[in-house]
């Protein structure tokens, strides 16, 4: 046997791996520090040199603010000089990154639509939670933690229904997904017509769960989203090999004694977590995009699971960031939609120029093969190794 041959991985010195781990930890710390520094509102000196006392200001009837008194919106976005922009940016980037990581695992298990089911099935849960809280104590209906718990429970119920249908009826999984998704969503809309007649129903902003209100994100929201996102990513990192094993060969995992059902449930729990934190920002209709699009784009660049996860996180964060930047620079553009559009643009670009089977490279290779008159090497020979 060729004992002298070493793979690149085993040849890498321990120091490199330790360095990588340290860098990872530092990155987390820096992100945390940046988050705190940027979000905490600054008291004291008002920006833009506007004096605080004694200036007379004419009141306009209802004219728009004088545009020339503002900086150019693009500059303001780039320098992150607006508190709201910073807040929305951080929150949505955290959502995008964590959605990308979780999405990679869902993609590999061919369960991407489960995220869609969870988010759509969450709708009746929100309405029921509102109604329950109003029934118990009128006026408390719009308590956000209660609504999010309702959303999570309802989303989980949707997934359980899909599994139940798959196990006890003839209906195949894709049909089961469609049925559960539409039934739950329909029930949710029906419940909302009840909710809209209640005094605090509209003020609770339940309709916003559908379309999201990313622009109205506050610092508290970002702490919650950031915390949840970090929890999700940390869980994926810790259980990386377990998730990978269960996704690849669940039978072998069971034989080895790994609790496959528990691990599945943990992953499902992370999906529900992402959906819940995404509900308020991009809304339940678009949350599935945060889970699927960055992961699908990452597939075009790498074949190693860990690398895919990192790339998906980067794409998710970048898409979110770009979307927020556009929404901050251009008036009257809904933030949730721009985020998804930017993510999709990244995906299309990856399809075209991604190093793995990108369309551009495929065309180039085909053209080169046409041009050369030599017969191609035998088909089926194992190709070059991946990055």
């Amino acid at each position: 046997m060729a004992r002298g041959i070493r793979t690149p991985r085993t040849a890498a010195p321990n120091a490199a791996r330790r360095r990588r781990r340290v860098m990872f930890g530092v990155m987390f710390g820096v992100m945390f520090g940046v988050m705190s520094a940027l979000i905490v509102p600054r008291a004291g000196v008002a920006r833009d040199g506007v004096a605080r006392d004694g200036e007379r200001i004419e009141s306009h009837a209802d004219g728009p603010a004088d545009a020339s008194s503002l900086h150019d919106p693009f500059v303001r976005v780039i320098t992150l000089s607006d508190h709201n922009t910073r807040v929305v940016l951080l929150g949505t980037m955290a959502l995008g990154a964590s959605g990308g990581v979780i999405g990679v695992f869902m993609l590999l298990r061919k369960q991407t639509l489960v995220g869609d089911v969870v988010s759509h099935a969450a709708l009746p849960g929100v309405a029921i939670a509102f109604l329950a809280m109003e029934w118990i104590e009128p006026g408390t209906g719009k308590s956000l933690p209660g609504l999010l718990v309702g959303a999570a429970l309802s989303g989980i119920a949707g997934v359980l229904c899909v599994q139940a249908i798959g196990r006890w009826t003839r209906v195949k999984e894709d049909a089961a997904l469609a049925v559960v998704l539409s039934v739950f969503f329909g029930v949710g809309i029906a419940l909302f017509t009840i909710v809209q007649r209640l005094p605090s129903g509209n003020a609770a902003g339940l309709a916003h769960f559908i379309y999201g209100k990313a622009a109205a994100m506050k610092a508290d929201d970002v702490w919650f989203i950031g915390g949840a996102a970090m929890l999700a990513v940390a869980t994926c990192a810790a259980l990386f090999k377990e998730f990978r094993l269960v996704a690849f060969d669940a039978r072998f995992a069971a034989v080895q004694g790994w609790p496959v059902a528990v691990l599945d449930s943990v992953l499902m729990g992370l999906v529900v977590l992402i959906c819940v934190i995404g509900l308020r920002s991009v809304g339940l209709l678009l949350v599935v995009a945060m889970l699927t699009v960055p992961a699908a784009a990452a597939q075009c660049w790498s074949e190693r699971l860990a690398t895919m996860g990192v790339i998906a996180a980067m794409f998710g964060a970048f898409g979110a960031g770009l979307g927020v930047a556009i929404s901050a620079a251009v008036p009257r553009v809904a933030t949730g939609a721009t985020i998804v559009l930017c993510g999709s643009a990244v995906f299309l670009a990856s399809l075209a120029v991604g190093t793995r089977h990108g369309l551009v490279w495929r065309f180039a290779r085909a053209a080169r093969r046409e041009a050369s008159s030599m017969p191609s090497a035998e088909e089926g020979h194992p190709g070059q190794g991946g990055p």
Binding site: I5, F248, D249, R251, A254, Q256, G386
Partner: protein, 271 residues
């Protein structure tokens, strides 16, 4: 020539050995939705042998393996691995599932797959360190796949994929190996590698049960055979059990196949 009908036959080299049989099945019945797939299986595997499990399609061969490994629930019966329930003996059992049971488009390298055999030793939440990678690489070397370690599994041929699966089982360093059709769809070179490997394992005293599909190679490769067609037809050393009569009982009306086998079959010396 004697057909043994389900009676437990222990013909291991050391009959007086204190260690219990690597695989002991009593009265095993498995049913899906009230429809029995296998029933009344009694079997004790001798230790240190290469044992083939043969039978027609749908005979329940894979089901039997799965039932032994607690992958599917048993309707009745019990299975003992080295005298204890499977749960407590996981570390001593290596498993090679059917190649089709896995999606080979999954983005993972050959080395990563082999390392999966070591996960239960690495433990929860810990990364696969260099030490374990070395062990995985050693397993790959044994199957002749060392230079493909960092190759993505989707780029491997059928035979190479099968070898990766075997390496993973080897990495488990077990005493009993259960393999589900490892010879299915592999090229000649791989087949030789696998046979060599099996013989290596036998000489180290391991017991290997293999679900095998190719009747023509049973006598050549294996010491013992289990004939299964939903019930146990016969089990025991190949020379004694692998008879046309037993085969007819196992395979039912597939006479063309049996005749072909029967033609090759010669009575052993002294029988």
């Amino acid at each position: 020539m004697r057909a043994s009908n389900g009676a437990a036959a222990r013909t291991g080299p050391d009959d007086g050995r204190s260690e219990p049989s690597p695989l002991s099945i009593r009265d095993l019945t498995v049913a899906y939705h009230l429809k029995p797939v296998i029933w009344d299986i009694d079997y004790e595997a001798p230790s240190g042998r290469l044992i083939a499990i043969v039978g027609p399609n749908g005979a329940g061969k894979s089901t039997m393996l799965a039932a032994c490994l607690d992958l599917i629930p048993r309707t009745t019966g019990e299975v003992r691995i080295f005298g204890r329930p499977f749960r407590s003996q996981r570390g001593r059992v290596g498993y090679v599932p059917q190649r089709e049971s896995v999606d080979w488009d999954f983005p993972v390298s050959a080395l990563d797959v082999v390392a999966m055999g070591l996960y239960h030793r690495i433990g929860w939440c810990r990364p696969v360190t260099r030490r374990y990678r070395r062990e995985a690489l050693a397993a790959l070397e044994r199957v002749g796949m060392a230079e493909f370690a960092s190759r993505q599994i989707r780029q491997l041929s059928g035979g190479q994929q099968q070898r990766v699966f075997l390496a993973r089982a080897l990495a488990q360093d077990a005493d009993l190996y259960l393999m589900d059709e490892p010879f299915a769809g592999v090229d000649a070179a791989t087949e030789l590698v696998i046979v060599d490997l099996l013989r290596d394992l036998r000489s180290s005293g391991k017991t290997v049960l293999v679900v095998h599909h190719d009747l023509q190679t049973v006598e050549e490769y294996f010491d013992e055979v289990v004939l299964l067609n939903m019930r146990l037809v016969a089990a025991g050393p190949v020379e004694q059990v692998f008879t046309p009569q037993n085969l007819r009982k196992t395979y039912g009306g597939r006479l063309a196949l049996l005749d072909r086998v029967g033609n090759r079959f010669t009575f052993g010396p002294g029988e």
